[in-house]
C-alpha cells in the first residue's frame, strides 16, 4: 500500500500542495522559487515519510506519530496570527535576560518586537513577505537543495511563513534576540515554519530560541532553518525545547559557514513533546572555520528524543567540536546519531565528537551511533560514546558527607549536564537552563 492510502498526513499534504501551488500568495513569488517548490514537492512525493528501513531513521519509528490526522495551516492566509497566550510566552521568558523578544505563534510573527528598538544594521522580516520580495527570494529558490531529506523537502515545498533575520557586515548586535515559538491549537495541525538567518561579513549575533506549546490538540512542527555565517562572522545559537505533550517536533537546521566564521550551537531538549527530532547540519564550506555543537537532552515519559548531527568538513584547516549529553528517565528513548564527514580536500581537519548518556531508569533506552567518515589523511579526529549509570564512587562520597541518595543523584545529574551548560555564553540563559533541568529531575529532599 502506498503512503497516500495509509498515512492521513500524506493525503493532506498532497491536497495542501494542490491548493497552495494555485494560491495567490505563491503566484506572487519568483518563477525560480515556484520551481524550487515544485522540485521539492516532487522529491517528497517520491520519498514519502521515512520508515525505519531508512538508515537515518533506523531508531526513530514515526508510525505511531503518523497515525493521527493533521490539517495544514497557513497556506491560504499566510501570517494569520493567533494571539499568543500570555502565560505561555511568560513560561518561555528568561529571567533577567536583556534581549529583543520576538514571538512566533504557529510559525507566524505579528511584527512586534519587545525589549526596545532594534539597532541599525539588523533586519527582522516575516518570511511571508520575504519570499515575495525579489531581492530576498534568492534565499529560498535553490533547486534540489535538500537531497533525500524527507522533511526538509516537505517544508521547502509548502512553507509560507517564518522568521527572516539579516545582520549587515561589520555589525555586532549587543543584545541577544530571543525568539519564542508558541505552538497552540484546538485541532490537530501541521505547522512548517521556515527561517532564514544571514550573518554578513564580520558581524556578530546571538539568537536564543524557546519552543513552548499549549492547547489540547496534537501539533506536528516541521521546522526548517537555514543559516549563513559569512566570512569572519560569529553566530551564537541556543535552542531550548520545552514543548509539551502532543507536540511532534521535527527541526532541521542547516548552517553554511564561510571562511574564518564561528558558529556555536546549543540544543537543549527537555521532557514534554512526544517526539523531538533535531537534524543539525554544519557545513564547513571554506577554510579556517570553527563550529561548536553542544547538546543536552533530558527525556522522560514515553518521549522519543533523536539528535542527528552532521559536521561536513569540506575544506582544510577547520575545527569542529561536538559534545552531546543525554539523561534518560522513565520510559523514554534517546537517539544520538552524529556524523563527522571529512572530504578529500579537508586536510588539517580537527574534529572531535563525544556522546555520553546516563540511563537512569530501568525502562529507558538509548541508541547511540557516532560516525566518522574520513577521506583525508592529515587529520585529527576522534569520537567517543558512553552509556552508563552514576559512578558508584561518586555516589558513596556524597552520601558519606550526609547527602541523601536522591539528592546525591540529582547533584550528579546536574554535574553531568554541567559540561554542556557551562559553555552557554550568556549567564542568564545558563541559569534558565539549569533551572529547567532541576525542574525535571526527581529530587527527594528528606
Amino acid at each position: 500500500m502506498t503512503q497516500e492510502q495509509t498515512i492521513p498526513l500524506f493525503e493532506e499534504v498532497v491536497n495542501g500542495w494542490n491548493k497552495l501551488s494555485l494560491s495567490g500568495g505563491v503566484k506572487k513569488e519568483s518563477s525560480d522559487l515556484r520551481r524550487a517548490r515544485q522540485s521539492a514537492f516532487d522529491k517528497f512525493r517520491e520519498l514519502g515519510f521515512p520508515s525505519i528501513r531508512n538508515e537515518e531513521w533506523k531508531y526513530t519509528n514515526l508510525a505511531r506519530f503518523l497515525k493521527d490526522e493533521f490539517t495544514i495551516e497557513g497556506w491560504e492566509v499566510p501570517g494569520k496570527t493567533v494571539v499568543p497566550d500570555a502565560a505561555l510566552v511568560k513560561k518561555a521568558g528568561i529571567t533577567l535576560l536583556d534581549c529583543y523578544q520576538i514571538v512566533l505563534v504557529n510559525g507566524s510573527w505579528d511584527g512586534t518586537i519587545g525589549g526596545g528598538t532594534l539597532p541599525k544594521g539588523i533586519q527582522l522580516l516575516k518570511v511571508a513577505e520575504a519570499r515575495q520580495d525579489p531581492a530576498l527570494s534568492v534565499y529560498f529558490e535553490k533547486q534540489a537543495a535538500w537531497g533525500d531529506q524527507h522533511f526538509a523537502n516537505l517544508n521547502a515545498a509548502l512553507f509560507t511563513d517564518g522568521l527572516f533575520i539579516r545582520v549587515d557586515a561589520g555589525v555586532t548586535v549587543e543584545k541577544p534576540i530571543h525568539v519564542i515559538h508558541v505552538y497552540t491549537s484546538e485541532s490537530n495541525l501541521l505547522v512548517q515554519p521556515r527561517n532564514v538567518w544571514v550573518v554578513n561579513r564580520n558581524a556578530e549575533l546571538s539568537v536564543v530560541e524557546s519552543v513552548v506549546s499549549g492547547g489540547t490538540a496534537k501539533i506536528w512542527v516541521n521546522g526548517l532553518t537555514e543559516i549563513l555565517v559569512h566570512q569572519d562572522a560569529r553566530l551564537h545559537h541556543t535552542m531550548i525545547q520545552t514543548a509539551g505533550a502532543g507536540v511532534r517536533l521535527v527541526q532541521q537546521t542547516t548552517v553554511h559557514q564561510h571562511r574564518q566564521s564561528l558558529y556555536n550551537n546549543f540544543t537543549i531538549t527537555l521532557p514534554g513533546a512526544d517526539l523531538v527530532r533535531n537534524d543539525l547540519q554544519a557545513r564547513l564550506e571554506e577554510e579556517h572555520t570553527e563550529s561548536h555543537l553542544y547538546g543536552l537532552y533530558l527525556a522522560a515519559g514515553h518521549q522519543l528524543v533523536d539528535n542527528h548531527t552532521l559536521v561536513d568538513h569540506q575544506k582544510p584547516n577547520c575545527l569542529s567540536n561536538e559534545l552531546y549529553k543525554g539523561v534518560l528517565l522513565e520510559q523514554s528513548t534517546g537517539v544520538f546519531n552524529g556524523k563527522v564527514y571529512v572530504h578529500k580536500d579537508a586536510q588539517k581537519t580537527n574534529a572531535f565528537q563525544q556522546n555520553n548518556n546516563l540511563v537512569i531508569s530501568k525502562k529507558a533506552t538509548i541508541d547511540s551511533k557516532p560516525q566518522l567518515e574520513i577521506f583525508a589523511d592529515d587529520v585529527k579526529c576522534s569520537h567517543g560514546s558512553t552509556v552508563g549509570q552514576f559512578s558508584e564512587e561518586a555516589l558513596f562520597y556524597l552520601r558519606a558527607r550526609g547527602i541523601g541518595e536522591e539528592s546525591a543523584k540529582s547533584l550528579l545529574i546536574n554535574a553531568f549536564a554541567f559540561d554542556v551548560t557551562e559553555k552557554i555564553r550568556i549567564p542568564e540563559v545558563e541559569a534558565h537552563v539549569n533551572e529547567l533541568i532541576s525542574l525535571h529531575i526527581p529530587v527527594n529532599h528528606a
Binding site: 547511540s368 560516525q371 577521506f375 567517543g384
Partner: protein
C-alpha cells in the same frame, strides 16, 4: 630516503606472493545456480535427505533476498549464474592416507608453507587443508581422537557424526540470515568440523587452510565448532588464492557454539588475493561468522588479521546468552590499492553480567578504504553488562579513507558501554625519531605498524603471531605518509 609518492607507488606495486596456479585435473561443475546444482552437490557428497532439504530451504531464502545497500562504497554487480559452485580435484575416492594425495596438491600446500605430512608439519598444530571445494587432508587426526576430539572435514562429519551436525548446523547462523549465508547454506561444499568433548582442553592448535585455485569458482565452506561444557579449543584459519583478473566470491559461514564454561578462540589470518593496483581481480570475501556463548561463563574470542581480498565484508559476532559469558573481538585490517574492508563485530548481550571487548585497528594506504562497523546491543535482561570498544584508524597517504560506524543500543540501565575511536595519520615525528636512531623509514613503518597492531597480534597463537607480523610488514612495505 624515497619520497612519499615513490613509497606509495611501491606499496601499490608490491607483488602478491601466493598468486600461482596449481595445474591439476579437476571436476568442475559448469557455472550456474539452480535447484539441480544443489541436488548435484548433495548427491556428489552422498548426503542424507535432511541436509538436502536444508540446502533447498537455503536456496529459497537466497532467492528472496537482495544484495545489501547500506554500504558506503559501490558494490560491483555479482552475477551468481556465472560462478561454478563445485570444483574438486579429480580423484577416485576418499584419501585413506597422505600417500594417496596427488603429489601436486601436497606440493601446493608445501609452497604455501603448510606441509601436510605429519613429520614435517608444524608442531602443535593440526591442519585441515581445503582446496577449492574439498578438504584434502587433516593431520593429527588419530592423536586427537584419543581425547575424543573430532576434527575432520565437514563432509566427513555429515557421514560419521550426523547427529551432531544436524543438531547444530544453522543453529547460530540460520539459512535465512543474509543473502550470502543463504547462498552458502544452499551450495556449501566442504569445510571443517570440530567437536571438543566435555572437560577436554584441546592440546594443540587446530587449523584450516583454505585455497581457491580454479577459475570462476566460488568457495563456500562451512565451519562448525562445538565446545562442550568446560572444554577449550584454539582454532586458526588461513587462506590464499591465485592472481586472476576476474573477481572470485568467497562466501563462508562459521558457527561456533560454546556451552557452559567452555572457551573457543578463533583466529584468522586472511590473505586472499587482493586484486592488482588498479583494482582488477581479487576475492570478494563475504563471510558470516557468529558464535554463541550458550552456557554460563562461556567465552568466545575472535582475532583476525585481514590483509587480502578486494572487498571484505565480515562481522564475526558473539551472542552472549549465558550469564557471565564473555565475547571478544580483536582485529587488524589493512587495505591498500583499491581494497575495501568493511569489518567489525556484533556483541549481543542477553545474559546477566556479560562482558565484551572490541579492539579494532584499521590501516589504510593507497586508495584503500577501511571501515569499522560494529553493534553493541544490551538487552533488557543483561543486568550489569559491560562493553569496551576501542577503534583506531591509521591513514597512510592522502587517497585512502577510514570510517567508523559503531551502533550502540542499550535497553538496560545497569549496563556500561564505552566506545572510543581515533583517526590519525602515521606519525612523521615517530618515523623521524626512529630514523634518528639509525632505523630506515621502511623498517620504521613496519615497527610502528606492528606496535600499533600489537594488542591484536598478541591475541594470536604464538606460531602465527610471527607470520602475521611478517605479513603486515610485507603488505605495507616502505610506506611513509
Amino acid at each position: 630516503m624515497p619520497n612519499d609518492n615513490e613509497i606509495i607507488d611501491n606499496i601499490a606495486n608490491k607483488e602478491y606472493e601466493f598468486g600461482f596456479v596449481t595445474d591439476i585435473e579437476m571436476d568442475i561443475l559448469p557455472a550456474g545456480l539452480n535447484e539441480s546444482t544443489i541436488r548435484y552437490i548433495s548427491e556428489k557428497k552422498k548426503e542424507p535427505e535432511w541436509l538436502l532439504n536444508w540446502r533447498l530451504k537455503g536456496y529459497q531464502s537466497f532467492q528472496k533476498q537482495k544484495l545489501p545497500e547500506w554500504q558506503n562504497f559501490e558494490l560491483p554487480a555479482i552475477d551468481f549464474q556465472k560462478i561454478s559452485y563445485y570444483a574438486a580435484p579429480r580423484n577416485k575416492k576418499k584419501y585413506n592416507s597422505l600417500d594417496e594425495v596427488d603429489p601436486e596438491l601436497l606440493a601446493t600446500f608445501a609452497k604455501l608453507g603448510i606441509p601436510l605430512s605429519e613429520q614435517k608439519a608444524l608442531t602443535g598444530v593440526a591442519v585441515d587443508a581445503v582446496f577449492d571445494s574439498i578438504s584434502i587432508a587433516t593431520t593429527y587426526k588419530d592423536k586427537l581422537k584419543e581425547l575424543g576430539i573430532i576434527f575432520c572435514s565437514f563432509g566427513e562429519a555429515v557421514q560419521e557424526h550426523p547427529e551432531l551436525v544436524q543438531k547444530y548446523v544453522g543453529s547460530v547462523v540460520p539459512h535465512s540470515d543474509n543473502i550470502f549465508a543463504a547462498l552458502n547454506s544452499a551450495v556449501f561444499s566442504d569445510g571443517s568440523f570440530v567437536y571438543i568433548p566435555k572437560g577436554v582442553r584441546c592440546p594443540m592448535e587446530l587449523s584450516t587452510y583454505f585455497r581457491i585455485n580454479t577459475e570462476n569458482t566460488g568457495q563456500f565452506e562451512r565451519t562448525l565448532i562445538i565446545a562442550d561444557e568446560g572444554s577449550y579449543v584454539s582454532y586458526l584459519e588461513g587462506c590464499t588464492a591465485p592472481m586472476r583478473d576476474e573477481n572470485q566470491l568467497h562466501a563462508a559461514v562459521v558457527e561456533l557454539i560454546a556451552l557452559e564454561n567452555a572457551e573457543i578462540k578463533y583466529s584468522t589470518v586472511q590473505n586472499w588475493y587482493p586484486g592488482d593496483k588498479d583494482g582488477k581481480g581479487g576475492i570478494y570475501n563475504f563471510v558470516t561468522k557468529r558464535g554463541i556463548c550458550k552456557g554460563a561463563n562461556a567465552k568466545i574470542s575472535w582475532t583476525q588479521v585481514e590483509t587480502g581480498s578486494a572487498i571484505t565484508w565480515k562481522y564475526p559476532s558473539v551472542i552472549l546468552q549465558g550469564d557471565n559469558s564473555t565475547g571478544e573481538f580483536y582485529s587488524v585490517a589493512v587495505t591498500r590499492n583499491r581494497q575495501i574492508a568493511d569489518t567489525g563485530t556484533k556483541m549481543h548481550h542477553i545474559g546477566r553480567n556479560t562482558r565484551s571487548r572490541i579492539i579494532s585497528k584499521g590501516i589504510s594506504a593507497g586508495e584503500g578504504n577501511n571501515s569499522y562497523r560494529g553493534l553493541v546491543q544490551i538487552g533488557p535482561k543483561a543486568d550489569l553488562a559491560r562493553n569496551f570498544t576501542q577503534c583506531d584508524s591509521l591513514l597512510i597517504g592522502d587517497r585512502c579513507g577510514a570510517h567508523t560506524f559503531p551502533y550502540i543500543e542499550s535497553k538496560n540501565n545497569t549496563a556500561t558501554v564505552e566506545h572510543e575511536a581515533t583517526t590519525s595519520k602515521i606519525g612523521e615525528d615517530q618515523i623521524f625519531y626512529l630514523n634518528q636512531r639509525g632505523i630506515d623509514s621502511e623498517k620504521a613503518v613496519a615497527l610502528i605498524i606492528n606496535g600499533y597492531a600489537k594488542e591484536v597480534l598478541n591475541q594470536l597463537p604464538m606460531e602465527f603471531a610471527v607470520e602475521a607480523q611478517k605479513l603486515l610488514s610485507i603488505t605495507l612495505e616502505g610506506s611513509v605518509g
